[in-house]
Amino acid sequence: MDTTVTTGSEERVWGGGNRPMQASYGKLMMWFFIVSDALTFSGFLASYGFSRFKFIETWPIADEVFTHVPFFHGNYPMYYVAFMTFVLIMSSVTMVLAVDAGHRMMKNRVILYMFLTIIGGLIFVGSQAWEWATFIRGDYGAVETKGGRILQFVNAETGERAALSEFAATLPGERERHERKTGIWFTQEAALPSYTVDEVVEGLRSSPNILIRTEQLNEDGEKTILNREQTLERIKDATLVVEGANLIRNEYGSRLFADFFFFITGFHGFHVFSGVVINVIIFFNVILGTYERRGHYEMVEKVGLYWHFVDLVWVFVFTFFYLV
């Protein structure tokens, strides 16, 4: 009896066309994607935390790594990353203004705000490319020991980091980079560092004001600086000169630090890049009047969701990679 009575309402429930969340299909699918993508980024950041807690006493200090600002020389920790964060938040604002203008069907405003959003995105991607280039090039140089530990150098008088070029000796040597053209065609090696280990060791011995800084953090959260005797003892372990960073080793310290830098900021930068591409497509659609004819600007709202998500992820990357 009951079933026959309720048939009508079941028809309404299961017959299709229901919107229990009062959001369109496209928007819900965008949310699905965002949630799953958020989990991917969480996986990255959580594994970063894993590695960091594992090597909690030797992890590099981000403040000392990201100290560069384009066109300026000197030590400016975090300023440029803060600028990048601000650019991304700003482009998020212009995006949400575009969505707002879309709701009110103001085509020209949507065009203007979408354009500004794209510019912001491009500035951010460009900044990140510059950060990568600076990170890969490196600035001071370091040596690696037999056990894979990184030894950096400081000037005992000023207390500042010393670059290899400041003290390395010049020894006459014939070692050349082995390239394909000089031997068997399938063997080659990576670019040689500017100085050999012998030159660094010799330079260190002859300059009494240079000390070694190890990866180990002391109670104040600063890297341990060895005294002169310990320095001369420790340099005997040196096996490699490391300049800049790649996926295998880097001059900043723990190898995983550079790997996570490349993977996390790279994955995020790729998201920003694809966000810019999608924004450009929608931008041209707006200009062509596609959404004006369709009667609503929901597409702008959907790419807006994606764009804000990219901003949201950066807020977390900024905290966990650069600040904490």
Binding site: G49, G147, T319
Partner: protein
């Protein structure tokens, strides 16, 4: 739904006259929070770096809390979660929070265990 916005933030403490004004208001708030973060990151006050809570520096706790505050306002006002139905909002927010908390919990505990193994074990790592 799409055309009406809730214009109050801070639990009704601040109410804006239009959606555009609310967007700028949220931007100002987010910028202030970022400036505070960067300022603390550069100055590193000794009182915040010297004191620990649950094994982490107070400064890092402040950073994480401020990050979550920023994330809240980005999601609620820029991604319009404030204007969505509660069911959608909860599905989007609580699913990752639950999964990520669990992941962080197990990974950080495991990492701390491995750290003690490295520290107290009989294998030399620093050579």
């Amino acid at each position: 739904m799409a055309h009406e916005h809730k214009l109050e933030i801070f639990r009704g403490l601040v109410k804006f006259s239009s959606n555009t004004r609310k967007i700028w208001g949220v931007l100002v708030f987010l910028s202030i929070v970022t400036a505070v973060e960067v300022g603390l990151g550069i100055t590193k006050p000794a009182i915040l770096t010297g004191n620990y809570f649950l094994g982490m520096k107070l400064l890092n706790w402040i950073f994480i809390i401020l990050t979550l505050v920023k994330a809240y306002y980005i999601a609620w006002d820029f991604m319009h979660l404030r204007d969505e139905k509660a069911s959608l909002r909860r599905a989007v927010v609580w699913t990752p929070i639950f999964l990520v908390s669990y992941l962080i919990f197990i990974l950080l505990f495991e990492a701390d265990y491995i750290y003690t193994v490295f520290r107290d074990g009989f294998v030399k790592w620093d050579f």
